[in-house]
Amino acid sequence: MKLPAQLRPVLRNPQFVAGVILLLVVLFSALGADMIAPKSFEEMDIPSSLAPPSRQYPLGTDHYGRCIFSRVVYGSRIALRVGLIVVTIETVIGVSLGLLAGYYGGRVDRVISFVTDLTWALPPIVLALAIVTALGPSLNNVVIAIALVSWAGYSRLIRSKAQSLKNMPYVEAARALGESDFSIMFRYILPNTYGLIIVLATLSVPAAILSTTALSFLGLGSQPPAPDWGVILNEGIAYMHSAPWISIFPGLALVCTALGFNLLGEGLRDLLDPRMKV
């Protein structure tokens, strides 16, 4: 009953609408990959290898004659799954640590903030490279590595929000009622940070996808013949001049996905908290 009124500013925000459309396309291809893709992502057709886009192969073929369109479509599954898992892990770590640091302050805060700053200071890709080198190349290791190095932003944001929320009279009132610290953190402070978390999570999906794709591109993540966009890009480098479509289309897919999440995230930020708008 109240929804239409709340949705009106959403529809008036063209960036947000564009983001939603882009992501719907990606989501649709990930869910319906089996129906959309004309071929399997690993079906080889050596005679028509390196073929340019045609009616049979809409986006051309690679050096094994695999359908690039099918591979890109299946790749969206990997990209979305990776993005969601990484963001979930980093949200859980970052939000819990941020809550603890912001609510307790003092020594707890100093220790957590030190670790956060330490993680923040290291370039994520380099740290992830080190972790993957230690654990061995695989997509799962890359996901863990990226998640372990990119929670610092959440921790900082939630810490400062918790610091301001813990002095709100309604939190004081909760303390006066005899609520436990745990209950105050998770039932009073956390729900009032949901807006922030949703925005930050949406905005960090593209970073997560780009980082894992980069590591896959370097050969540390998904291994061939997986249709990971990073893997396809890597295979395409050798044929950059003779068959540019191999690299162009997974690259485009990556850009569209990242753009979609960024537009969505910024739209959400404007909607959930107009004051954050610059």
Partner: protein, 332 residues
């Protein structure tokens, strides 16, 4: 002080400072003594009014009484138990016996909880689990403060300021406390609504035999609500007296000037205690003047006032003031 043999709340030498002891470079930093050696007692069923300018430590004193903040020194005794000695768990169990109502009902209610959830919260904390009993209690308490059942599933922002304050009062009452700290409960409300909320508080006090600490900077409101009044200035209590006696014959020069500063449409007959209205702001709290804190602004200051800090001394029946004027002649 009160002659009641067993006051509900009693403090002795309560002191609280703010600010860290050292700055970034290890130099000693100036502390703000928000509450400085305050000893008070509140009898069962009475309302003690706490009045003073903003920043004089009224709210801090209220927070200390129910241990929302920990005192640096001194003790608080609640119904025979030393609150200042209790550990977290014991304190949490005792918390249902005293509650606080804040000035701004907008920020004292969680914007994401419905009225039902807000008012039921104290029961959940107290370990109630029977949903029907909780619902019954919530409905009863809301009705007590003048809100209807049908408003239970709304959110705080859907209510007016006065109604929100009623919700906050309902939340405090759910678990049947004995003692309420009312921290400027009507200062954020429209004048017309103020009176309604004040009357509600009076009714509730009678009905549930509550004891109040009523904090305000508004002399008229304090007078209307309080049985006894304590006047605070820069963290210290300067005068404690029954309401009638304070307004009829204020002793401390600060109280006298404070009462005189109340605007009035009716020309008042001189009552014999008028002093020139004081000007200027209270002195810095980080470096309060030595001796009596009030002496730089006091129209009756004596040379000694800048040296000696006066203690509360009996100046009448149940009436005490901290002023050197009364040290020499304590009787009328």
């Amino acid at each position: 002080m009160s002659l009641d043999p067993a006051p509900l709340v009693q403090t002795a030498g309560l002191t609280k400072s703010f600010g860290s002891r050292h700055d970034l470079f290890g130099r000693p930093r100036l502390l703000v003594r928000a509450v400085d050696d305050v000893s008070l007692s509140i009898a069962r069923g009475e309302t003690l009014g706490l009045v003073g300018e903003s920043g004089c430590g009224k709210s801090t004193l209220g927070n200390l009484l129910i241990r929302l903040e920990d005192a640096d020194n001194g003790e608080v005794v609640f119904d025979g138990q030393r609150l200042t000695d209790l550990n977290e768990r014991e304190l949490r169990r005792l918390r249902r016996r005293f509650q606080i109502i804040f000035q701004d009902p907008q920020s004292s209610l969680d914007p994401r909880m419905t009225v039902r959830a807000i008012v039921a919260e104290p029961l959940t904390v107290a370990g109630w689990s029977d949903r029907a009993k909780i619902a019954e209690r919530v409905a009863f308490v809301l009705e007590t403060v003048g809100l209807g059942r049908e408003q239970m599933s709304r959110f705080p922002h859907e209510f007016s300021g006065g109604q929100r304050q009623r919700i906050a009062i309902a939340r405090a009452l759910t678990i049947n406390p004995d003692f309420l700290v009312l921290d400027e409960p009507t200062s954020a409300l429209d004048v017309s609504v103020q009176a309604q909320v004040l009357n509600l508080l009076k009714e509730l006090q009678e009905r549930f035999s509550l004891t109040y600490l009523f904090i305000s900077h508004n002399m008229a409101v304090i007078r209307y609500m309080s049985d006894r009044i304590a006047v605070m200035y820069l963290g210290r209590t300067l005068e404690v007296a029954p309401s009638a006696s304070l307004f009829a014959a204020p002793r401390h020069p600060y109280t006298r000037t404070l009462l005189q500063a109340i605007p009035s449409v009716v020309r008042r007959e001189p009552a014999g205690w008028e002093l020139p209205i004081i000007e200027g702001d209270p002195p810095s709290q980080t470096s309060p003047p030595p001796g009596c804190h009030f002496h730089p602004r006091c129209p009756l200051r004596m040379p000694e006032c800048s040296v000696t800090q006066p203690a509360l001394a009996q100046v009448g029946l149940d009436h005490s003031a901290a002023c050197l004027l009364y040290r020499v002649a304590p009787q009328e």
